[in-house]
């Protein structure tokens, strides 16, 4: 068998000619649309792809994007970021987390600031690296501050399992895993208290790709069926995104409303059953999880099951962890952006008070947030 190189996974999916061909197909189909359509890309990875590769510049005026809440760092409410900060400041604690999380400012500062003040904060690419850190620092407590959607949850579950099997005495967990379908329902269904309206603008969803590898496309079956919104599960490369958009436009032209999978090379209907079982074994749903910019979303967060409370940093450190909810800056309109009712440029503090180096609202904090992507790549048409 010919060896598969890493570049095979993306080279063909960035081919300029293919992208242009899809732009042409979309333009021809979109000309037949009866009214403009707004497509929400749920996942922050898609927002990044769409902006980085300049895809809006290739689309006709009647096909628009609404940038969704699928950036695990962006949606963390400030009080939970404060948890991370407080935990990192506890004596003999090493706080471990993923990527961008260390940049997000809470009310006392970010984990980066905590590190500058002497806290031991580390970022890892794989949660399994916690095992090594714990082994090398037997007299310290390693707290894994777990974030992410269905994509990263199994990795945390594997770490929990390893900690239990190997009887590792010095790893605890602070779980902030959230799930995609619940927030999609919230976006369609919920009443926005600020503007007192149900007026979301979402006509269709570009379904997250890596989440779906784990969960399977089955989690989106209800959106065309019960909510009248087509979903096309789409990959992260520009050719993928253009094909996914084209499939959505075709559904509208042909008056279909279905769940389809563009990203067939890795996504199937049932997903990774083993990973799902592992998640089920160690985690249970929180009745409410507060999303930054969106507020409380029922059943959208996960926590360690009660029988694993001994590994739960939220339980062990509950006396020092702040509980009050912290609202975002009054001028921040992230909630409206996430509901598709505003674009980043419409915010009065976008690019002035709120920048990637000094983020005020959730959508600016991570490279996957809509505001950060607009700021970084500009909007050149």
């Amino acid at each position: 068998m010919q060896e598969l190189e890493l570049k095979n996974l993306y080279d063909d999916f960035r081919d300029g000619e293919t992208i242009k061909a899809y732009a042409q197909i979309i333009a021809e189909d979109a000309a037949k649309l009866e009214k403009p359509i707004n497509i929400m890309e749920v996942c922050g990875g898609h927002t990044h792809t769409i902006m980085k590769f300049g895809l809006p510049q290739l689309l006709p005026d009647n096909v628009n994007f609404i940038h969704g809440p699928g950036c695990p760092v962006c949606i963390m409410p400030k009080e939970r970021i404060d948890h991370a900060y407080v935990l990192s400041m506890q004596p003999d604690v090493i706080l471990v987390t993923l990527g961008d999380m260390i940049k997000v400012p809470g009310s006392n500062g970010s984990l980066q600031d905590a590190r500058a003040k002497g806290a031991d904060v580390r970022f890892v690419y794989s949660p399994m690296e916690c095992l090594k850190i714990a082994e090398e620092n037997p007299d310290k407590t390693v707290i894994f501050f777990a974030i992410g959607f269905e994509t990263t949850t199994p990795m945390t579950a594997v770490l929990v399992e390893q900690v239990i099997l190997k009887k590792v005495p010095n790893i605890l967990f602070h779980i902030n895993h959230v799930t995609v379908p619940e927030v999609m329902v919230e976006l369609i269904d919920s009443r926005d208290v600020h503007v007192d309206s149900y007026n979301n603008q979402i006509d269709a969803f570009l379904g997250p790709s890596h989440v779906s590898v784990i969960s399977g496309s089955k989690i989106y079956d209800k959106f065309p069926k019960d909510y009248g919104r087509p979903v096309v599960v789409t990959g992260f490369e520009p050719v993928d995104a253009m094909q996914g958009i084209s499939m959505i436009v075709k559904q509208f032209v042909e008056k279909r409303c279905e769940m389809e999978v563009q990203y067939k090379r890795v996504v199937n209907h049932d997903g990774n059953i083993k990973a799902q079982a592992l998640i089920e074994k160690y985690f249970e749903k929180m009745s409410l999880f507060r999303w930054r910019g969106l507020g409380n979303v029922p059943d959208s967060g996960l926590k360690l099951r009660a029988e694993y409370a001994a590994y739960d940093a939220e339980v062990k450190y509950k006396d020092v962890l702040p509980i009050a909810e912290i609202e975002d800056h009054k001028l921040c309109i992230c909630g409206d952006i996430l509901r598709g009712m505003a674009k980043p440029q419409e915010c009065t503090i976008f690019g002035t008070a709120c920048k990637p180096t000094t983020p005020i609202g959730s959508c600016m904090v991570s490279s996957e947030g809509a505001c950060a992507a607009y700021y970084k790549y500009g909007n050149l048409i």
């Binding site: 890493l6 300029g16 300049g54 980066q112 994509t151 790549y377």
Partner: protein
Amino acid sequence: MTKTITIAHGNGGEENNELIKKIFYKHFENDILAKSEDAAVIEDGKLAFTTDSFTVSPLFFPGGDIGKLAVCGTCNDLAMMGAKPKYMTCSVIIEEGFSTRELEKIVKSMKTELEINGAIVVSGDTKVVPKGAVDQLFINTTGIGTIEHKGITASGLKEGMSILVSRDVGCHGATIFAAREGIELESGLQTDCASLYPHIKALMDADINIVALRDATRGGVSAVLNEWAKTSDVCVEVEEEKIPVLDEVRGICEMLGFEAIDLANEGTFVLCVGKEDEVKALEVLQKTHTTAALIATVTTQHVGRVLLNSSWGTKRFLDLPTGELLPRIC
């Protein structure tokens, strides 16, 4: 400015510039410093003068070590002003308990690199500090060189000029990320760490009129192009598909969510020449690295900004990298 210094203030990007401007320039202000070139030009344009400190983890990495880095870094800053590196100082701060053998290995690799540049170390200093006060070994080098090509400046870019890179970009950053504790990747990738004076000499020998020159260290090629666009009040338009990137580097970038053009290099430079010199300059560069490429032209479309053109006809800004480079989450 934030109340405390964070890692982001040393990234070669926006926060780093803020730190330098708001603290150091504010108090050290003078005409030579204000030019903010790779090396200061002193004594009526005869000499170039620069300094750099080196801390890298791990100390030894594929294709180099901190010693090689310490000589290349300073000599390259001189070479980027069209100067021949001549004299250097070498100061080391050593953590108690550091291996003598490793120290000698590092000093030997400094010597090898000095010979390539034709420079000598003429003064130095050593300090040993208690365990934990530094991470193993920090090196500072200061260098002085004689200027052989005058007038190289970041403010010299004009509409119609051409911009080239001396080789494929991002090798050093990708290698260090791959080698650094915590990110375990296997690859045959090596740092690009190298002395650049010989390449600059080859360009001068070929009679190429160098307009601007900069080694793309922290902040990568993005930082250089952004700085040039701002300093020269022009727009730099980059053809994205022409940026040379090795498959291994691209692979690491794809996994971690980086862009090769933002990653640090230690032996890669960006060159601006007039349109008339573009072919000849590329020929000279390609004699050393076949991956050298013409990547951009100077225009006036968005003054002060860098534009990236894709092969499918879209445009976007290429910004200065901000913050600490962190791997993406999923």
